[in-house]
């Protein structure tokens, strides 16, 4: 069955309908042990998976809050008289090298490297200061002792280790850690910059599509990502529905692409909204590095890196919206940026839709399922029931008609555990975690 029975709704309750609690990004770390969320208020909340316990097998691997910190604050650009939102646009984890965890978080303008570390022991018995930290008078010390580490309540602290600022004129939409683990890139609407983790006062500009005359601007960068294995290769997508693959070995400024992916337009579907709905909102390499997946307004496409002229697979996310494009243009929903994710084995892809629906497509069996992330419709540990949208004609009992869809309930951000069938779905200010049912 292509569906994933196993519902365990875990709401991240953050009281009330505060806009600051709207989740703006979700990301598992490389082992899946940690799950980070960023929100509109600039906060990062990290969940940690519980160790599996023989005593409580049914509580297999629940995620609980591990750390919460304020990553970004609202700022004011005095030169332009503009506010800079503190909303976290993206979080990306670094691979783990020691006991501490590192992640990058970014708002529209500034990227920060955060170190999240545990402290469960405390040194006691210093010679030169007492337990409160006050200095002792050296003349009063008659004996020497060796400080010992004593256990304390676990404390998780997050400290900003690097701040990468002042490199972006436009809004940052993507960050991507390179496979060399020494560099990463940040992409805004018109430029992509390459950073070294150790150096914060310098970055290299590797892509610049700003026209000399802003009046000629017709295309912007919408997303970018490094290849998972080849540290010289990256892709970026555009608002015109194209993807460019660039090789950093070719030149310092990668304005000329190595590959250009574009699907020819279907003339029978042409309308004034064609360009808008072709704008790519997310691009992701498969774990294998052989494919890229792109999300535009109505579809998800899988491309083979070796074939530039069309995608190898196209999945309709919510084609019933095609007849509603004008309304969606009027209420701005047509500009919603949905993300897409691969599962660990690249066999299933997932993306969000409206009415708190999200969709999964099995690339092998070609089956797909629509599920809903809402408390009203799923109890904890209940199996999720597949949903169906009725496109016209007779509506069956548990179907929902297109006109009844709630467009304010959109699932833009989802994440898939790197190796297991555990998914995280952000529905406005609630986080849902679903996993496969055992036995």
């Amino acid at each position: 069955c292509a569906g994933y029975p196993g519902g365990r709704g875990s709401g991240s309750e953050t009281g009330g309908r505060s806009e600051a609690d709207i989740i703006s990004t979700v990301e598992f770390n490389h082992t899946g042990e940690l799950l980070a969320t960023g929100d509109k208020g600039g906060r990062v909340v990290i969940f940690q998976r519980e160790q599996e316990s023989k005593h409580q097998p049914h509580r297999r691997g629940e995620y609980n809050v591990y750390s919460t910190f304020q990553s970004h604050e609202p700022e004011f650009d005095y030169l332009k008289s503009l506010e800079i939102e503190e909303k976290i646009n993206k979080i990306r984890w670094l691979p783990q090298h020691n006991a501490a965890y590192f992640l990058l978080s970014t708002n529209d303008k500034t990227v920060k490297l955060w170190k999240v570390s545990e402290r469960d022991k405390r040194p006691e018995g210093y010679n030169l200061k007492d337990e409160d930290g006050r200095l002792r008078d050296p003349s009063m010390i008659t004996t020497l002792r060796v400080p010992v580490l004593r256990p304390m309540d676990l404390m998780v602290e997050a400290t900003p280790r690097r701040v990468f600022a002042n490199a972006h004129t436009y809004h940052i939409n993507s960050i991507s850690v390179n496979s060399d683990y020494e560099t990463y890139m940040s992409a805004d609407d018109l430029r992509i910059n390459l950073w070294n983790f150790e150096i914060t006062n310098q970055s290299f500009n590797i892509v610049d599509i700003k026209p000399a005359n802003m009046e000629e601007l017709t295309e912007v960068i919408t997303a970018a990502e490094f290849h998972p294995h080849h540290c010289n290769t990256f892709v970026y997508s555009s608002s015109k529905g194209t993807i460019r693959l660039c090789d950093m070995r070719a030149s310092a400024l990668c304005d000329r692409h190595a590959k250009f992916f574009e699907e020819p337009e279907d003339p029978s579907n042409r309308s004034f909204f064609s360009e808008i709905i072709s704008s790519i909102s997310d691009v992701k390499f498969s774990h294998s590095g052989r494919y890229i997946m792109t999300r535009d307004y109505l579809t998800v496409k899988v491309w083979d890196l070796n074939m530039e002229n069309r995608p190898i697979e196209t999945y309709q996310v919510h084609d019933y919206l095609r007849s509603k494009l004008c309304s969606l243009y009027e209420n701005d929903c047509i500009f919603d940026k949905f993300e897409c994710v691969w599962n660990g084995s690249d066999s299933v892809i997932m993306t969000g839709s409206y009415n708190n629906f999200f969709r999964m497509f099995d690339r092998n069996t070609k089956r797909d399922v629509t599920l809903e992330a809402s408390r009203e419709n799923s109890k904890p540990r209940a199996i999720l029931k597949p949903r169906k949208v009725c496109v016209g004609g007779k509506r069956r009992k548990d179907e929902i008609s297109v006109d009844s869809l709630d467009f304010s309930k959109k699932i833009l951000h989802t994440a898939w555990h790197p190796s297991e069938n555990i998914i995280a779905v952000a529905a406005t200010n609630n986080l849902y975690i679903f996993q496969d049912k055992v036995n």
Binding site: K80, S81, M214, L217, T218, S268, S279, S323, C326
Partner: protein
């Protein structure tokens, strides 16, 4: 526009744009029924397209009002506007609309949104200054703006564009395109050089006094930053003269304004 009206309109538009069919030429139509349907659909298609154009222009204004415009959204909307305008120019509807009296109201609406966009910033400062002088003023205020850039941008603003309903009435489609392009360009320039915004009066009723020459002149007079020379320069950057009577009346008004400036 009442909310119900708006909904109704977009529902119509949805029906219109269901298959995204462009209006086909009558020649070489393979399907007779399709042709007939096409003929019947022409007037409503144009109206719907016009409506989409209006909506898009309002959206672009909204970009001005937001704290920081989303560049991707602005670019996509601007591209849509260009697309509509190109199609309207190609099939001659642009001129058709100009000569129809019924089209006048929609043009005014277009114009009003244009002026509303540029002058709403001035409204916050209690001035009713016409577009071009706003533009100069913004650039002079903007300290990051390089003076040469200011001058070159200022000179690209053409005076007749600010004469209310005459904005879109340039008979030459090329000029339409040029003026239109300049509107879009201006929008992008302002997107780049953001200045303090005011969100009040965003959707206030169009003040018909905008269409008053008097109001405009008053505004010009009170704008002390713009010297008379600048005003004259702006006015003297010519639009191509055409033989059309509408354009002639524009020029007459221009002369009138220049006279007043010189006299003061």
């Amino acid at each position: 526009m009442g909310e119900e009206e708006g909904l109704h309109q977009t529902q119509l538009l949805d029906t219109m744009f269901v298959r995204g069919l462009k209006r086909k030429c009558f020649d070489g139509e393979e399907d007779i029924e399709g042709t007939l349907a096409g003929i019947k659909a022409i007037p409503s298609y144009n109206l719907q397209r016009q409506s989409l154009l209006d909506m898009s222009l309002v959206k672009l204004q909204l970009c001005h009002m937001l704290v920081e415009p989303n560049l991707c959204r602005s670019v996509l909307i601007a591209n849509t506007v260009r697309q509509i305008q190109e199609e309207m120019t190609q099939d001659g509807t642009w001129q058709m609309i100009n000569t129809q009296s019924t089209g006048q109201t929609s043009l005014d609406r277009l114009v009003s949104t244009d002026i509303l966009c540029r002058s709403s910033r001035e409204q916050a400062e209690g001035k009713q200054v016409p577009g071009y002088s706003n533009f100069n003023k913004d650039f002079e205020d903007d300290q990051t703006q390089d003076s040469s850039e200011t001058m070159s941008t200022a000179s690209s603003v053409q005076a007749p564009r600010n004469l209310q309903s005459n904005v879109w009435e340039m008979e030459n489609p090329q000029e339409n395109r040029g003026n239109f392009q300049k509107s879009l360009d201006q929008i992008f320039e302002t997107l780049e050089n953001k200045s303090p915004n005011s969100v009040e009066d965003l959707f206030s009723e169009v003040d018909n006094s905008y269409y008053d020459l008097d109001t405009m002149l008053t505004g010009m007079m009170s704008n002390t930053k713009m010297g008379h020379c600048d005003g004259l320069e702006t006015f003297s950057s010519p639009t191509t003269t055409t033989s059309n009577s509408n354009c002639k009346s524009d020029l007459n008004e221009l002369d009138h304004i220049v006279e007043i400036l010189v006299e003061s």
